[in-house]
Point group: D2
């Protein structure tokens, strides 16, 4: 068993920390300290108590020292791994991110990555990550840092820009959904039982939530070549890849979708976008798939409302409290997440190939070096090494690089704390491109002022009034 110190920044109020603790509890190879740091100390405390119940569970294969810290630097000191999973601001800010643009006809299905919501969220999150990077450089420069927070690309960019020698990567499961979808395609078209996604070999590249699969093999089969006949059967109805949900039931929950956007994009461009449709549409001109709530329905995906998120969060906190109190069961079971698997690889338990968000050192020669990109990487002893990706088709490259450049411009504006530059990258968002400059700036102003509490420590908002 390896004895490690693992720091978890944030994570107090979402299910993710629970999932992660579950997976750790079932990992016999590891043990040690799990340092919990959250500005919301009670949330960290709650996780600690759940952790202790997991320790006590008979199925537990490892046991962790759950320690809550008030001080970030003390938490980080001596860390081997740092996982960062925060909510920048509260759901009140997210309500502004997602819903303020609606009165201008700009709808968002997620609102945490790109588009108006993504911009505002980045404005809140980047300064926090600047602080994390500085603290990591000071307290645990050799630790592996795993970002789980959105907007992924710009936050990993921040970590590397502030502390260039950081050993950081961004970890996201959206590609897995596309793999699951391809497993359904194999099942439907070859008449075999649905394979596990690990049986696929794919080449995927792009930027987080807008990654594209250019090649997919299952056994001797070229899976992308199965898509055209599959689409003849399922394009109209859509096809939900979620385990336990019937293919046509895209209304199952607010995160479910029928993959019609993905199929339409494949028909148009010959590569498969590798994220949930809810994410994809936000990277594309508004008029294509996200012009209105009706368009979302037509394309079989949801506009996830922040009200839903509030209810969901309340429910999850209640669940956590019940677990902490012992009124609910904590029975650990392994999640489909990869994080622990990747950590094991980094600790020397065997190489793993998986997707990650890291700085481009030429793994995507079509994008400038220095951009944060998502491609396959080899996770191995103390290393995350990017694998050279296949070229993207021309029109896909255009879409990806437009968004990558927007993010780079946004980052430059946030780094300089210049609202005008930030506003320009706001205007350049594909979802905003239908707005006149005047209207766009008005919306930006409203959103900034509507979330002023979380911006004022970093930006001079006086010019906006």
């Amino acid at each position: 068993m390896k004895n490690i110190k693992l720091v978890y920044i944030g994570g107090g109020s979402k299910a993710w920390a629970r999932v992660f603790m579950n997976d750790l509890t079932l990992t016999a190879e590891l043990g040690g300290e799990l340092a919990l740091y959250d500005p919301d100390r009670e949330a960290a405390e709650l996780n600690r108590r759940i952790g202790q119940r997991l320790n006590a569970h008979p199925d537990a294969r490892s046991h962790w020292d759950y320690v809550v810290y008030d001080d970030l630097e003390r938490a980080l000191s001596g860390a081997d791994f740092v996982a960062i999973s925060i909510l920048p601001g509260t759901l009140d800010e997210m309500a502004v991110d997602v819903h303020a643009p609606e009165k201008y006809g700009v709808y968002q299905s997620v609102g945490d990555t790109v588009g108006p919501g993504g911009v505002l969220r980045a404005m809140r999150a980047v300064p926090l990550f600047e602080g994390f990077a500085r603290a990591i450089e000071k307290c645990c420069p050799d630790a592996w840092v795993i970002n789980l927070t959105n907007p992924m690309t710009i936050l990993v960019r921040t970590l590397y820009d502030v502390f260039p020698k950081i050993k950081a990567f961004g970890c996201c499961h959206e590609v897995f959904n596309a793999e699951d979808f391809l497993c359904c395609v194999v099942h439907e078209q070859l008449g075999v039982p649905r394979p596990d996604r690990h049986e696929l070999t794919i080449d995927a590249s792009g930027i987080n939530h807008f990654t594209w699969i250019t090649r997919a093999r299952w056994e001797d089969t070229d899976v992308l070549a199965l898509l055209p006949p599959f689409m003849e059967r399922f394009f109209e109805t859509g096809y939900v890849e979620k385990h336990g949900v019937s293919p046509e039931n895209w209304q199952y929950d607010p995160f479910t979708y029928g993959n019609r956007v993905k199929m339409d994009l494949f028909r148009r461009f010959g590569a498969l976008a590798a994220a949930g449709d809810r994410h994809l549409v936000e990277f594309l001109p508004k008029a294509w798939y996200l012009d209105s709530p009706e368009a979302a329905e037509h394309w079989r995906y949801h506009l996830t409302s922040v009200d839903y998120r509030r209810r969901d969060r309340t429910k999850k906190i209640a669940e956590s409290e019940a677990m902490a109190n012992g009124t609910a069961d904590v029975a650990p079971r392994r999640s489909p997440e990869e994080l622990v698997r990747l950590m094991l690889a980094i600790l020397g338990f065997g190489a793993v190939v998986s997707n990650a968000n890291v700085v481009n050192v030429a793994q995507m020669p079509q994008l400038p070096n220095g951009t944060v990109v998502e491609t396959n990487c080899v996770f191995d002893r103390d290393s995350v090494l990017p694998i050279a990706a296949q070229p993207l088709p021309g029109p896909v490259l255009s879409l990806v690089s437009a968004n990558a450049q927007n993010i780079e411009n946004l980052y430059a504006g946030i780094k300089a704390r210049e609202l005008d530059r930030i506003a320009e990258s706001f205007l350049a968002q594909p979802l905003c491109m239908g707005l006149s400059c005047e209207t766009g700036r008005q919306l930006f102003r409203e959103m900034a002022l509507g979330t002023a509490g979380y911006l004022e420590p970093w930006y001079d908002l006086s010019a906006l009034n």
Copy 2:
């Protein structure tokens, strides 16, 4: 005097040929044959007759053998220079290019470069240029080929793609207008007489009709630094740089504009877009400056109608006929065009620095090699050598590279004669980004069918019906 053979392809029906013949007539250093080739033989004949009258003029400093050819290859044989200035299709096709999109709310101020009109025009022109390139490779591979036809970027791209060793460049005067504008700025802000544009030293780079000035010097003055106070005075009214037109009179003619777009872009991005505002707006999201005829008026530029072009053309042909017949004067005077000056430089009469459209060999390291870009070049004995350009600001680079990629994708589609791929680059035009895919494809279909006569030789349109 150097004795050369200069071939002029097209040019029958526009004023350009006359301007060029004028300039040649005043160029004592050159003489020889001016070979005229135009599918519209009568147009070529008309030019020949004007040329002979220029020869006879007492101010003529050189005399040319004007020869009309029916056969392109015979015309090209032995050429030292080939100038290409054609109208791909007729004004009927251009009426479709420019006006068909209006019923979908898509307006165009020019319609010959990018946007829906630019795409359709490229579809007609690229196959013709493929033929020109093959004929040049066969008949005069060492000739210098000067393209004057729009859409410039894709046509120069075509020439190089078909015949990679071609000595070709694209020549455009739009940058000169921006230089004239900067001369007005010098005049207004320094209180000196308006300088000649050749007194400026600028660094400009981008793609044709969307080139950006990142640096401008006049004497010891940083001219871009004069713009903010200049804009305080003139942003509201606009400022026309045209010689002989008062600064506020943007309605002088359909090609005149008040430079408000240019000034607004400078305010936003800190670099000066170096083409007429009419061109610039077509490279930008429709909602920014070209949302409606009212927006055009607000920004002080015209939507040039094809009806106007028809009247203008009729007038110019009448002028030409009068000149050919001797009922009008042909008095040669030197134009502000640079073409003859560039030819002289290539022939060894002294190096000249001017802007040109050539293949990127790293003069713009921010864009991929192989892209056709417009930067300063040194024109010298048998050579046109690109000068390394300064980097563009991030948000400007985004705009330029999005358009450059669209053109590259469009070219790939046209080269393959694949309507679906062409339609995708049609949808990706900034002017079309407000259209749903369905509406966009419907418009594309209408435009293709509306210009079918000039497309059917090259494309299988049956799928569109």
Copy 3:
């Protein structure tokens, strides 16, 4: 069990084919046809007979159809894999390669990769590989092609240049020796039993036989950091990493060496050259380590004579005959070679990370794209994907890129069959750099004429006489 067709080109007369057949015999996952093609038909026949004895062996876990072909195209038809392992010319030619330069004071320890011998060998081998590539394109374009022949870099380059879509890689075990050496370092410095080389995680990059390890981990140990104290103990005596040979016994056989060159280079440059010392010295200026037979002895490695190779070959053929005849045992045992493991990965039996020689698509951004480089790759279902390598230290990069450029220049000369250009890259070999141009050309001439029988089909040697 997967049923495949595997073609083995060459291999008639060396132990390699036997090793490979052994490994296949122990691979339960595979079976099918092993097509043997060798211009020396009897050699292929001998292998076939050995193969049949392996089939009959009680330990055999798979059984193969050993088929000898007279016709290359018939052999290739339907192939899944093609392994190429030929001797270009005979040992008579190799005697010229290795020993002709000695009278000019140029010694070679191997003579098959770079240096005068490598150049001449490339001249014989490249035209053969041009033929192989054309035949593969025609008969089995989807087959995976594995080159085992030296000079590796230029031959893989040839395959890709002739048939750009070829799925080829070059496979070499020299890196393994350096890994074994590092395992000895772990053993000596940490006092643990010598680990298996698969327990190391390394980053290696460069060109074949001149690859450099920039990073090596075993468990939590930075193995390169162990080298300085290790070298204090063992630099003087040298240290042989060969299993079963005592560390100081570098004279054990002509392929054994004491790793003093490797250690000295590490001391100088901070990266570990990852090939046998015999190979390394040929990439470096002659005066550094290979100035004379005495220098070789000083540095504890051998100049392998072709006489030795003759005797060794005679012995191996005798062994093969004995095996074929049943007078010797064929008891299969697994070799340390990786080839079968890589084939299994390509066939979908699980991803493997190993080094391979493929075209640079940016896995080594310090070298131009298109160069054939050796780095780690991920071998996975129908794919060999290069992993982005760490940068090489400046002085190492200089040495690697000088050799890579020499090979590129040599390839251009051979492709054009221009002896003058070939002679220039001969003169530019590090081992030849002490020769005047005149002497160098004289030596080149002697070597070309001394191996004329194998050059005349491809080159016009008349100018050399």
Copy 4:
């Protein structure tokens, strides 16, 4: 007339300052202060007195305020131009640079650029240039800085590395000699009077003293195509291009040479090396052209001894004193140097194309960005803009990039003040490649200790004893 402040650092003891003052005196467009700074104050004083005599000369077209400064920062304050022309160390150090290697069989024809002498000279000069760059950043960050000191490449590299926004270029006349040589070729082969070198249009690129002409035009003639017949006539005897010297008289003075090396390289590689043969041979393997004094004679160039330099210097100082005292005439006449012409272009008196040493921003895409390269540039108002160079032939690129990498490695070693790294780049010099590592290090040690007085302020030499 433009009023400027021009600072001249160094130049006290060589003819260059006189030449420059002469040229300035004849330049009516300029006037102002010429600030003289030299650690050897008397030398600066001497120049001041010569300058005053030039001011008084009836042919003077401009008059300068010659001011001697003791303090560098005061000298630089307010400067428009800074010219740097120093001797790093004295001729005693240069005697070590040039002659110490001879006992190891390493001869040098110049010894100030690459090779052992170039390395030692760089060790003395780089730290001084670090100081200049810092002082310029502090006192006159907008001044144009012109380096005239060798070793050129590494010193320009230093300026940019210390102060990245510096407006600096290196200016060298060696390319002009190659142009003069080509003018002789025109004269001899076309039977026309020898043209002036400004009538040629060339494309040249590489690194200083090792630049290559890939294209040369005079009128309509491809001048490189004239070389083969020219060489048939003159290769054996050599051909001196120096005005006023007969073509075969290569022994005219120690700086004269017969261009046989240049012709031989052209025969081998098809491009014309554009520096004096004395320089070229130092970039190439010793055995090619510089194996011994006899080889120099065979190739018709001199090994310039430092004794000659001493005598020459004594003579030049005497001349200067005579001029200063009025016992010799100061009659100004225009030199063939370009510096004043380039300054005029920068000041806005008209664009000029000439060669310069600046940081690679992609003007030579075959070399890494950041390397200092010599190519044509456009000198224009406040700008020196590199022109995209044609690719070098493969074998030439190998030679150029090997030297460029050596310089980069050397710079890294000097910057870090690490003698071991410096010694490695010493060993990697083409002239040293015949030395064993041990001998090479011994020579390096001797040279460092022999010039210790000028190294000790910067390096810890104790390890060398």
